[in-house]
C-alpha cells in the first residue's frame, strides 16, 4: 500500500446554523478544502461523505450524489458514497477514502463529514441520536445514550474509586482549549463546580458532561505523495495509520462496561501500522461525547492505566504544554459534535496542529497526532495517526 | 373434586389516604371514614394496569405451584386496557400458556372474576380442560370528587382451578342474576355513574343476602359452621352489615376484610379477600365466599380446605396482608398524574 497524505482541509464553524442547510454546510467545508489544497474539481476522483442522521432529520438520503451535486462535481460523474457508522461516520468515511488512495484505486479523493440536526425539535433530535444505541433492547426500555454513559460512569467510579470531580476535568479541559478555537461552538471556560452544579442529565452526568447538539461540516483532500509535492511546498501531513474495530452494539453485551474493547483493538492495530507506541504520541483528539468516554478512551488508547485517567488529568495532563495535549480543538464538548462531521473535524484539527496553523491553541512542535472517533457506546472505534512530512 | 389448585394476588404499592382526597374536594375526612369504613386505597403506578396486575397475580400463583394442564384463561375486569383485545391474550402470552389454550375477557362489574371462576369450574368438571385460570383484576376509576373516588382501587387475584391436588375444594356454587341498574358506565364515558342509596338495599344487600342464604340452604349449613366468610367489599360498611344480618361474627370476616386499607379492587375485591383467607387457612376450614357485581348479580361459593394445603408452598409468593403492609403513600397530585386524570398536551 502506498503513502496517503492530506493536502487540503476545510471546516465550517460548529454550532447552531439556522441559516445554513445540510447542503450549504457540506459545500462550505468542501470548497474550503479544495481551496486549501489549491486543486481543481477535475482532480478529485471520488467523494466519501460521512453522515449519520440526514435520513431522519432532513428526510434526505442518497447523500453521496447530493454532495457530488452541490460541490459542483456531479458534472464529472464522480463516484460518491455516503458512509454511516453512528458517531464514527466521519472517521469511517475518512478510512474509506484512505483505503481508496492507499490501494491505488484513486489518486485524489475528497472526504467530508456533515450533520444538520437543528432542523427538527429537541425531542426528535434526542430520538434520532439514540439511533446509535440498540433500539430494541436499550432504547425501548428507556436507555438513551446518555443513560448508558451514566451507567458506565457509575460503574467506573465504583470500580476504580474515581472522584466525580476528576471526571469533570474532561469538559473543563475541552472548554479551556475551545475558548481558543475560532471554529468552536462554545468559547466560554468552565470550572469543575460548574459541571457538578449543572442540570442533571443521567446521574452522575450533567449537561456539562455531555457534548452539545451541533450542525457543521468538515472536509479533507487525500492524495498521493507525488501529487502533494506538486501542489504544496509544505504542510503535507501523512496518514500513518487508519484502523477500525467494532464491538457488540449494546453496552449490556460487553464483558466490561468501563472499557472500550473496540478502542483497544483499533489502537493496537494503529500503533502497529504506524510503528509507534502511546508514549510517542504528541497530541490526541479524543471522542468526549460524554466526559466519561474521554477518560475511558484515554486509558484504552494506552496512555494511562485503567482507572487512572482522572488522576492524570488532575496532575495537568491534557494541557497544551503538557506531555500529552488532549483535545486542543476543544473536543466534542466545546468545539461541538455535528455527528458525521466530528471524526473528519478531528483530523482537520490534527492537520492544523501539525502544520503549526493552530494559532492560539497551537501545541508546541508536535511530531504526530492521534485521533479517536467512537460510535454509539463503543460499538465502533476508529483511530488515525498522522505525522508531518518534512 | 373441583377446586383451587393454586392462587396468587397482586396489590400495587402506592396508597392514598382518605384525608388527602377529602382535602382536595372539601369533604370532612372523619365523615368519610366513619361512613365508608375506608382509611386508604391502593393506586396503580404509571407503568401498571389490569394486564400487569393479572400477570403478576398469576405469576404469584405459579410460583406457589406450577400448573400442569392449563387449558383456559378468563380475565374479569371493568378496566381492561383495551376495549377490544382481551387482557386474557396478553396474560396467556406473558405466562407462557399461549398458544394452545382458549381465552376471553369477562365483564360483570365487580363479579367478573367469580364469573370466570364458575366457567372454569364447569370446564374442569366436564373434563373439557384439566386446569383453568380465573382472574379478577381492576384499576378502577372513580369520578373526581365523587363518593366512589374514595374507594375505587387497584389489585387482582388469580385462581388456577382443577381437579387434582386441590387445596381448597369448591363444593358448590350458586348465583343470582337480575337487571338492576345500580351502577353502570356507558361506552366512551371516562367514569361510571351510580344510583346513590339505590346501590344499597335493592342492589348489594338483596343479591348478597339472598345468595348467601340460598347457598347455606343448599349446603344445609348455618353461619357458625363456617370458619371464615368473605363478601364483596365496596366499602367496609356493606360487608360488615351483610355479615351481621346473616348471623356471622366479626371474627369470621376480619381476615378477609381488606377494603379499609386498600379500597375496593372491584373485580379483585371479594377474591383478594378470599386470597387473604387462604393465606392462613388450615385443613378442614370452611369458607363462605360471596361476590356481588353491579348490574346486577351475586355468586356464592362453599369452599372447604383440604389436607393438600399442608404440602402447598404458599410462602413462595407474598401474602395479601404483607402486600397491604408494603405501602407508599402519595398525594393527590401524584394520584391524579398516575391515574391520568390530568389533561396532557400533544
Amino acid at each position: 500500500m502506498r503513502d496517503v497524505v492530506i493536502v487540503g482541509v476545510g471546516q465550517t464553524k460548529f454550532g447552531e446554523h439556522w441559516e445554513k442547510s445540510l447542503r450549504a454546510l457540506a459545500v462550505e467545508a468542501g470548497l474550503k478544502a479544495i481551496e486549501d489544497a489549491g486543486i481543481y474539481s477535475k482532480d478529485i476522483e471520488a467523494i466519501y461523505g460521512g453522515n449519520m442522521s440526514a435520513g431522519s432529520t432532513t428526510f434526505q438520503d442518497h447523500i453521496g450524489p447530493l454532495l457530488a451535486d452541490f460541490t459542483g462535481l456531479a458534472i464529472n460523474r464522480i463516484p460518491a458514497i455516503r458512509i454511516e457508522n453512528g458517531s464514527a461516520s466521519g472517521a469511517a468515511a475518512f478510512h474509506e477514502g484512505f483505503l481508496a488512495v492507499a490501494s491505488g484505486n484513486y489518486d485524489t479523493v475528497l472526504v467530508g463529514g456533515v450533520e444538520k440536526l437543528t432542523d427538527v425539535s429537541m425531542e426528535e433530535i434526542t430520538e434520532v441520536l439514540s439511533g446509535e444505541v440498540d433500539r430494541e433492547w436499550e432504547l425501548f426500555n428507556g436507555a438513551t445514550l446518555a443513560s448508558l454513559a451514566g451507567l458506565m460512569a457509575r460503574r467506573y467510579m465504583v470500580e476504580y474509586n474515581t472522584k466525580r470531580e476528576q471526571i469533570a476535568l474532561m469538559p473543563v479541559l475541552s472548554h479551556k482549549h475551545g475558548s481558543l478555537n475560532p471554529y468552536a461552538q462554545f468559547k466560554n471556560t468552565i470550572k469543575v463546580e460548574d459541571v457538578l452544579k449543572s442540570t442533571m442529565v443521567a446521574d452522575p452526568l450533567t449537561m456539562l458532561d455531555c457534548a452539545p447538539v451541533s450542525d457543521g461540516a468538515s472536509a479533507v483532500i487525500l492524495t498521493t505523495m507525488e501529487n502533494a509535492k506538486k501542489w504544496r511546498k509544505d504542510g503535507i501531513v501523512r496518514v500513518k495509520a487508519s484502523s477500525v474495530a467494532s464491538d457488540y452494539i449494546a453496552l449490556q453485551s460487553r464483558e466490561n462496561i468501563t472499557r472500550f474493547d473496540s478502542t483497544v483493538e483499533a489502537a493496537r492495530k494503529a500503533y502497529k501500522m504506524a510503528g509507534l507506541e502511546p508514549k510517542d504520541i504528541s497530541l490526541v483528539e479524543i471522542h468526549d461525547a460524554y466526559s466519561i468516554f474521554g477518560l475511558i478512551a484515554l486509558e484504552d488508547l494506552g496512555f494511562f492505566r485503567k482507572g487512572t485517567a482522572g488522576k492524570y488529568l488532575e496532575e495537568g495532563y491534557g494541557n497544551l504544554d503538557s506531555k500529552l495535549p488532549i483535545n486542543p480543538s476543544g473536543g466534542l464538548k466545546a468545539k461541538g459534535h455535528p455527528v458525521g462531521a466530528t471524526g473528519v473535524g478531528q483530523i482537520v484539527e490534527a492537520t492544523f496542529q501539525l502544520r503549526k496553523e493552530a494559532d492560539k491553541r497551537q501545541v508546541p512542535d508536535p511530531k504526530n497526532a492521534l485521533t479517536l472517533n467512537i460510535g454509539g457506546s463503543g460499538g465502533s472505534s476508529i483511530v488515525h495517526i498522522m505525522e508531518v512530512v518534512k | 373434586m373441583v377446586g383451587i389448585v393454586t392462587y396468587g394476588s397482586y396489590i400495587p404499592r402506592f396508597r392514598i389516604k382518605v384525608e388527602e382526597i377529602a382535602r382536595v374536594w372539601g369533604e370532612d375526612p372523619e365523615d368519610i371514614k366513619n361512613g365508608l369504613y375506608i382509611y386508604s386505597k391502593s393506586v396503580p403506578g404509571p407503568d401498571e394496569d389490569t394486564a400487569t396486575i393479572s400477570v403478576e397475580s398469576l405469576r404469584n400463583a405459579m410460583a406457589r405451584k406450577k400448573p400442569s394442564g392449563v387449558g383456559a384463561i378468563y380475565v374479569g375486569s371493568e378496566s381492561h386496557p383495551y376495549a377490544v383485545k382481551p387482557t386474557a391474550t396478553i396474560v396467556a402470552e406473558a405466562t407462557g400458556f399461549a398458544p394452545e389454550i382458549t381465552a376471553a375477557d369477562y365483564e360483570f362489574a365487580c363479579k367478573a372474576g367469580t364469573a370466570a371462576m364458575q366457567t372454569v369450574m364447569g370446564m374442569v368438571k366436564s373434563g373439557m380442560i384439566k386446569e383453568g385460570v380465573a382472574i379478577g383484576a381492576d384499576t378502577s376509576q372513580g369520578a373526581p370528587g365523587d363518593a366512589l373516588e374514595y374507594s375505587a382501587a387497584a389489585g387482582g387475584t388469580a385462581f388456577v382451578i382443577g381437579n387434582e391436588n386441590v387445596i381448597a375444594e369448591i363444593k358448590a356454587t350458586y348465583s343470582i342474576t337480575t337487571d338492576t341498574p345500580d351502577f353502570w358506565r356507558r361506552e366512551g364515558q371516562d367514569y361510571p355513574r351510580h344510583g346513590g342509596r339505590f346501590t344499597g338495599e335493592p342492589a348489594y344487600f338483596r343479591h348478597v343476602l339472598d345468595t348467601s342464604r340460598k347457598m347455606m340452604e343448599i349446603m344445609k349449613t348455618k353461619p357458625e359452621d363456617y370458619t371464615y366468610a368473605v363478601f364483596h367489599q365496596p366499602n367496609g360498611k356493606f360487608p360488615s352489615r351483610a355479615a351481621k344480618t346473616l348471623g356471622f361474627k366479626e371474627s369470621q370476616i376480619k381476615q378477609g376484610l381488606i377494603v379499609p386499607y386498600i379500597g375496593n379492587t372491584y373485580s379483585g375485591s371479594m377474591i383478594t379477600g378470599l386470597s387473604a383467607i387462604l393465606d392462613v387457612s388450615k385443613p378442614g376450614d370452611r369458607i363462605l365466599a360471596v361476590s356481588f357485581g353491579s348490574g346486577a348479580g351475586s355468586d356464592a361459593f362453599h369452599i372447604e380446605i383440604t389436607k393438600e394445603i399442608e404440602n402447598y408452598k404458599k410462602e413462595n409468593a407474598q401474602s395479601v396482608w404483607s402486600q397491604i403492609e408494603r405501602a407508599k403513600f402519595i398525594d393527590y397530585a401524584y394520584y391524579a398524574k398516575f391515574k391520568r386524570k390530568i389533561k396532557m398536551g400533544e
Binding site: E138, A143, L148, R154, D203, Q252, I257 | D49, A51, T52
Partner: protein, 132 residues
Amino acid sequence: MTIPRFWREFEQRYRLVGTKCPSCERVYFPPRDVCPYCHRESVGKMKKHELKPTGKIYSYTLVRQDIPDFKSIKPYIMVMVEMDDGPKITGQLTDTEYDEVKIGMPVKAVFRRIREESDSGIIEYGYKFVPL
C-alpha cells in the same frame, strides 16, 4: 415500535426467552442465532432458554432527560442487571427510591407497561425490575 417489530419479540419482552449455546453453554439475551464463541458449531443448534428472572444490579443511573415516552415517570431509574443465568440486561428499576439503589442489590424482572404508541395505539408491555 411498529406492530410487527414489537409482536415478534413477545417471548423476549414478556418472558425473557433467550438462547443457549449447546457447545459452551453460554446463555444469551436477547437471543442469538450464532454463538460468538463457537460460531459455525452453534449455527442451527442454539436452543431457546427462558432466563430465571432474578439477578443483581451491575450499575445504575437516574435519567432526567425529557423523553416523551417516559414523561409520566420522569425521572426514571435505569439499571443494568447481571442476571443469575449470565447475560446483563438493561431496563428500568421501578417501585424504588433512587437513594435505595446499590450495586449488587438483588432484583427480579416484572411485567409492566413500557410505553404506548398513542392514546389509540397499541400498548407495549415489557420487563422492568423491582428489588427482591
